[in-house]
Subunit: 211 residues, 2 copies
Amino acid sequence: MKFYDCSTAPSPRRARVFIAEKGLLDSMERIDVNLREKEQMTPEFAKINPFLTVPVLELDDGTRLNATVAIWRHLEETHPEPPLMGRTPVEKALIAQWQWRIEMDGFQAVGECLRNSVPGMAGRGVTGKHSYEQIPALAERGKLRAERFMETLDEAIGDKPFVVGDAYSVADIDALVFVDFAKWIKVAVPDSCANVARWYASVSERPSAKL
Amino acid sequence: MKFYDCSTAPSPRRARVFIAEKGLLDSMERIDVNLREKEQMTPEFAKINPFLTVPVLELDDGTRLNATVAIWRHLEETHPEPPLMGRTPVEKALIAQWQWRIEMDGFQAVGECLRNSVPGMAGRGVTGKHSYEQIPALAERGKLRAERFMETLDEAIGDKPFVVGDAYSVADIDALVFVDFAKWIKVAVPDSCANVARWYASVSERPSAKL
C-alpha cells in the first residue's frame, strides 16, 4: 500500500495515527506531500486525488481512497486487530457518533477558522479545485465553536479513560487531532475542562501520537 | 426501538430511508418532532438529544443514538441484510468515501445556504443550543458549492446504476436527500448532469424514497 501523507498537517494525521495504532506504518510506502509548497494543487497530484487533499491510501489493487473515513474502514476490515471502531454494535455506533461529532463540531470548526483567516490561504476557503474567498465572519464563528466544543468534549469524556467505552478508538484520534489543531488558532484546553486535560495528557503519550 | 423523526426535514430522512430499506420502519415506535414549531429546542427534547437535532434512535437498552452515521452503523450490524454499507472491504471503503463526500460537499453545502439565508432561521446559523448569527456570504458560498457538486456527483455516478458498485447504499441515500434538499435553495439538476438525472429518476421510484 502507498500512503500519501503530510507530516505537518492535521488531516493526514487522522489516518497516520490509525495506521500506526494498527502496526502498519512500516509496511507502507509513505509519500510526503508538501502542502506548504501547495504540492497537492499540482496536475500530477490531481491524478492521484482529484479533490486535491491528503491523506490518500493506494491499495495494492490500485484503488485510491481519498477520505479518512474510507481509509479507516478499509484497514479496520482487513486488519481488525486492535479494533479502533468498536467491538459490539452499540460500541461501534457510539464511536461512529462521537467521531462524527468531533469531526463536525471540533475539527471542522478549527479548519473553518484557519482557512478563512490565514493570509497564506487567501482564495482557499474550501479545499479542492475551486477557489473560494475567505469569509472573516466564518473564521470568527469557527473559533467560537471550537472553544465551545472543548466543553462538549469534556462532558463526553467525563471520568473515562477514552472518549467512548474502555478502549482507544477513532473518536480519540479525532479528539486528539482536534485539540492539537486548535492550538493553531490559539484555542487551548480551558482550565474548566479538566477531563479533556487528563485524557489529552494520557493519549498524547501513545507512540502513535508522536509520529 | 423508538425513532424520533420529522417527516418534512432532510436530516432525519437520511435515517428514515435507511430504516425503510432494511424493512424495519413498521417495527419502530415513530415520534414526529415538529421542527417548524421548534419542538427540538424544548427542554423536554434536550433530554432526548442535547444537540437538539433529529434523527434520534432509542435502542431497547435505552441508548440513544443522535447521529445518522451511528444509527446506520448500529442497524447495519444488527440487521445486516440487505447490506447498505457494502459487502467487501473495498466496497465498504468506497461507500464510506462517497457517503462522506456527498454529506460534506453536497448536503452540508445546501444546509449552509439555507440556514444562513432563510429569515425563519435567523440566529440559527448552526444547529444546537448556541445561537449563531447568519452569515450571508456563507449562504452564497453554500449555493455555489451545491451547484458545483452536481457535476462531481455526475462524474461519480457515470453510467452506473448506483453511486458505488452495483447495489443501493448509504451513498445513494445521501445523494438522493442532497438532490431533493437542493430544491429548497433552488438548485436543480442541470441539463449537463444526465447521469444524475437518470440515477435520480430511478432511485426516486423506490418505495423508501416516498416515505
